[in-house]
């Protein structure tokens, strides 16, 4: 039986003599409309990206020139040029790649440490009972609602006290513990069968060993999903790096991009090219790890 499971449209089987009857036409029309809608939506979703990318391949004067009337030239540069990217590489005091590397370093470190620390905590919340465990979990989760801007100044003062301003630590350490991570990973651990750990314990593993050697390796989808979320969060960070670590040696991408927009001169070519470059690593990461991410996100929402 052909069925479109979730809208629940159940169509009867094809008649033996497959000529163009109303049913087939109807099915085709339905399919075609569906496809058309998906296509239009896809265009809408990709539009800003496409415009941004084509902007990065244009000269500054051409960027905003071809909007009216709408034509193919709105999206395809009349004069292709890599000048914007070249300009990025020739920036002073550091070429743009320096900021990319800073962002990569910070993001990877945050992600790695985050995965370790939060999966440990999530395991406790999922498997080890102690009095007050669930209340503690709720308290941790509650911190998620606090907007960062609220904490920015006190946190900045803490960084000052620790002499961590303009250092990588200031960009990394405060973001290792993550209630969201604990939540997602706990959900996942709750879904794993206890038999795994019990088997490991019987084989002689300590509680920690069971966690580290048996549970974690089986949690790859959730780990990758959360890892990607954390990576993106760190990659995207703007206000915090701006406040606490803006000087060029430790500057990250988002702050660098903001510096192209100054009082006198908005360097659109640099902004567009940098925006494309800033999107690239993230897009590639998500593209390669798509499967795990989808699986991880999808299972976490179910509980």
């Amino acid at each position: 039986m052909a069925s479109s499971a979730h809208t629940g449209t159940v169509l009867p089987a094809r008649p033996a003599h497959a000529h163009l009857d109303t049913l087939t036409v109807r099915r085709f029309a339905l399919r075609a409309t569906r496809y058309a809608i998906m296509l239009v939506l896809a265009v809408f979703f990709l539009l800003p990206y496409v415009w941004m990318m084509s902007g990065s391949l244009r000269t500054q004067n051409e960027i905003f020139a071809n909007l009216f009337p709408l034509s193919i030239w709105t999206f395809i540069p009349k004069q292709w040029t890599l000048a914007s990217y070249q300009a990025l590489l020739q920036l002073q005091p550091f070429p743009f790649t320096h900021y990319v590397l800073n962002s990569l370093f910070v993001a990877f470190t945050v992600t790695l440490l985050s995965l370790i620390v939060n999966s440990c905590a999530a395991y406790v919340f999922a498997r080890i009972r102690f009095p007050g465990r669930d209340a503690l979990f709720v308290v941790f989760l509650a911190t998620m609602v606090i907007p960062f801007e609220v904490l920015a100044i006190p946190l900045y003062l803490e960084m000052r006290a620790l002499h961590w301003t303009d250092t990588y630590q200031a960009l990394i350490v405060p973001f290792i513990a993550s209630p969201l991570g604990m939540f997602l990973l706990r959900q996942f651990f709750l879904g794993l069968p206890r038999e795994l750990e019990e088997a490991a314990r019987i084989d002689g593993c300590s509680l920690f060993g069971a966690f580290w050697r048996v549970v974690l390796p089986n949690a790859t989808p959730a780990l990758i999903a959360f890892g990607l979320i954390r990576f993106q969060f760190s990659w995207d960070a703007f206000i915090w790096p701006l406040i606490v670590a803006p000087s060029p040696p430790v500057r990250v991408i988002q702050v660098a991009i903001a510096s192209f927009d100054s009082d006198q001169l908005v360097q659109w070519d640099l902004i567009f090219a940098a925006a494309v470059l800033a999107s690239l690593p993230i897009v590639l990461l998500f593209a390669f790890l798509q499967r795990y991410y989808v699986q991880g996100v999808v299972t976490s929402g179910l509980k």
Partner: protein, 305 residues
């Protein structure tokens, strides 16, 4: 059954102390995360609350005790009420749009079609973009002579003021928010959809239920848990609306996009009144907690299948 007993016996033997071993492990496993949260979240919260009981001039660092004065001022400040309303409105619009569109997209990509991977990637792509950058780009897409108006005119519709109109500005920002985050919700809802066993639909079909009935009586109820997740996550994020306002409208036109977090930021960082800003943020916290509580009650699911 036998195996279970044997296992239990072995477990008891391996850890003669039983529970305390677990407590010990729990302590160490939990410590780094707890320490991180305490030092970098709880302490700043406490400090922020302490600041809210003072008049704290940011630049000079001058601290004057004012007790509950900031909170009293809050309750009678019309711009704060307005800002809360703006954030609330935005949240409602955002949640409705994201749930509806997210569910729609999830339904669309739950089928096998040509190029499914492409579509799913296209809808998800905005999620990985940087919000700061995209807000800047969208600001120009919305301009009077920007891309969106160019498209409108090509199809014969009149130009819209978008960010310049008090009626359209918040909706325009909401559109950006939806574009950016709906891909994530699509995935979550997709998971929910795929977890519904197909035979439920088939038996309902055999019983004569139409497509809409199947959707209303099978799909929606079984999605309740996932929907709750989507609604709660989206609400929290939406209520904290800041970056697009900062980049695109700075609160205007006519205060129609003056979201509460933006106001907090502006009061503390631009007008240097950190004590008042801190008090505002605790008010925000209280409102969000209340919001979440209502949502949990409303969407509580007792459906098992």
């Amino acid at each position: 059954m036998v195996r279970q007993n044997a296992a239990a016996a072995v477990l008891r033997k391996l850890s003669p102390t039983g529970q305390p071993e677990a407590y010990w492990v729990a302590f160490w496993l939990l410590l780094p995360a707890a320490a991180g949260l305490i030092i970098f979240t709880f302490v700043p919260i406490v400090y922020a609350f302490w600041i809210s009981l003072h008049d704290y001039q940011l630049l000079s660092g001058q601290l004057t005790w004012t007790g509950a004065a900031n909170y009293v001022r809050l309750l009678s400040d019309p711009s704060v009420t307005k800002a809360l309303v703006v954030s609330l409105l935005y949240t409602v619009i955002s949640v409705v749009a994201q749930v509806v569109l997210g569910l729609g997209l999830a339904l669309l990509v739950s089928e096998r079609v040509r190029g499914l991977g492409f579509f799913r990637a296209a809808y998800f792509l905005p999620v990985v973009a940087s919000l700061v950058v995209m807000a800047t780009i969208w600001k120009f897409l919305y301009a009077e002579s920007g891309l969106f108006n160019a498209i409108l005119q090509t199809v014969g519709l009149p130009s819209q003021p978008f960010l310049k109109s008090a009626d359209q500005a918040l909706l325009s920002i909401a559109a950006l928010g939806v574009w950016k985050f709906v891909g994530f919700n699509m995935l979550v809802l997709l998971g929910g959809l795929q977890a519904i066993p197909a035979d439920l639909y088939e038996s309902a079909g055999l019983d004569g239920a139409g497509a809409i009935q199947r959707f209303a009586y099978i799909t929606l109820p079984l999605l309740k848990r996932v929907l709750l997740f989507v609604v709660v996550m989206t609400s929290i994020e939406s209520f904290k609306l800041f970056t697009p306002v900062y980049v695109m409208t700075t609160g205007g036109p006519q205060d129609s996009t003056d979201a509460i977090v933006f106001q907090i930021f502006r009061t503390g960082f631009r007008y240097y009144e950190l004590g008042y800003a801190a008090a505002m943020s605790f008010l925000l916290l209280a409102v969000v907690v209340i919001l979440m509580w209502f949502q949990f009650r409303a969407l509580r699911s007792d459906v098992e299948y």
